[in-house]
């Protein structure tokens, strides 16, 4: 059970109403709606982080699900397991990203391995990545990609803390899909 009330459509504040127009906007929005001025800025920010961008959906979900797995955020793990599957990741790969299986043997592409090392460093901190890790990443990604990867990871850390602390509930549809996939 979540630790704050979820704002429902009839109680949606004026600045938050547009987020409720197309049905249930999900618990992140319904929690943030308590503070509409935060929702107004955070929702588009999250949209730009998790929406379509020049980083491929597969790479982005590797970042998000790995970060969430390392930080143990149930809401984000469950929600993004489904997104990851829909982005082309295999069941085995999602298990590894969820920190329920080893990376070794499940990810072999050097680009993705460099990405995973970077994500582990950013998500777990503290401190900066060493020069070897930097050169491994920069040999395979442009500066723009490095910035976006780092920002997606950092934003996911923030969201992991938010969702875990407030115990936001995973949607029934997501739980049903995870059950079907044997990933509950």
């Amino acid at each position: 059970m979540s630790r704050v009330a979820m704002i429902e459509k009839p109680q949606a504040p004026l600045l938050a109403r547009r987020f409720f127009e197309r049905g249930d906007p999900g618990p992140i929005v319904t929690a943030l709606a308590h503070v509409p001025e935060l929702l107004e800025t955070t929702a588009p920010f999250l949209g730009s982080i998790y929406g379509p961008s020049h980083l491929s959906p597969r790479l982005k979900e590797i970042v998000v699900l790995r970060t969430s797995g390392l930080l143990g955020c149930h809401y984000c793990i469950e929600t993004h397991t489904v997104v990851a599957l829909d982005s082309g990741l295999s069941r085995e790969e999602t298990l590894a990203l969820r920190n329920e299986a080893t990376i070794e043997g499940r990810f072999t592409d050097e680009r993705e391995l460099a990405l995973l090392a970077w994500v582990d460093c950013v998500a777990l901190g503290p401190g900066c990545p060493d020069e070897k890790m930097v050169s491994e990443l920069k040999a395979r990604f442009s500066d723009a990609e490095v910035v976006e990867i780092t920002m997606v990871c950092a934003a996911t850390v923030m969201l992991n803390r938010f969702c875990t602390t407030l115990a936001l509930p995973t949607s029934p549809a997501t739980l049903a899909r995870l059950s079907e996939e044997g990933l509950s």
Partner: protein
Amino acid sequence: MSAVAEAISSGRLPGRMWMYSNYHCNLACSYCLTESAPDAAKRRLGGDRMLSLAREAAALGFREVGVTGGEPFLEPDMPETLVGLAEIMPVVVLTNGTLFTGRRLERMAPLGERDVRVQISLDSSDPVANDTMRGPDNFRKVVDAIPRLIDLGVKVRIASTLEYVDETDLSELCALHRDLGVPDDDHIVRPIVRRGRAVDNDMGMSAAAGDLPPELTITADGAFWSAFGPTVHGGRLDTDLLVTRTIAPLRIPAAAMLRLVQDQPASVNGDTEFI
């Protein structure tokens, strides 16, 4: 000219800003929007913060400030706060009028020399009917206080909140307010709004944002679209008319209010006087 001042000049935004000084009250009226009562959470703004907000409101271009609650005069420094507010802008303060005796009455005297209107609730010329809505002995206290306040030079208005307008009852009520020294221009009749305790008692008319004048209303819980916004039902604050949680600096909720007003037709400034 600030964006707020321009919106007020063009009629898109009313010039009055409201502040809920507190939520607790010595009464527990049957139609109370905020479920106020003696044991309600106080949620005070505090005199200093009210003065600071009013100064910023004036700088932004607001022209008048309203103070409501709860019962504002349960706040120990309310007469002095009102004097301070009146040095910034004209003031109207809403009160149940039951607390003006003894020392508290004497402390109202300075308001007579300031631009402060004291709006007192009185719903019927029939003591029984009035007290059924507002609580025991309410009628006697109010009709006792009004002439005393007028004698001190305080500008008194009477507000009657009615579920139905019965012409006979209304004419008797008007005769009473004239007898008390309050002219017709200072008597307003307003409908019960179906929020707060009125919902439980199946009273009043529903009012959405578009039905209510967009008068920026500041409370300890945030800024709202109207003085009818920060209502409480079942012990929980209604958020459907919440604008921002941030109340200071005032330019933040004021800017949000302007964005909302720009989406509204100018007619929402309202033909119905709810306050």
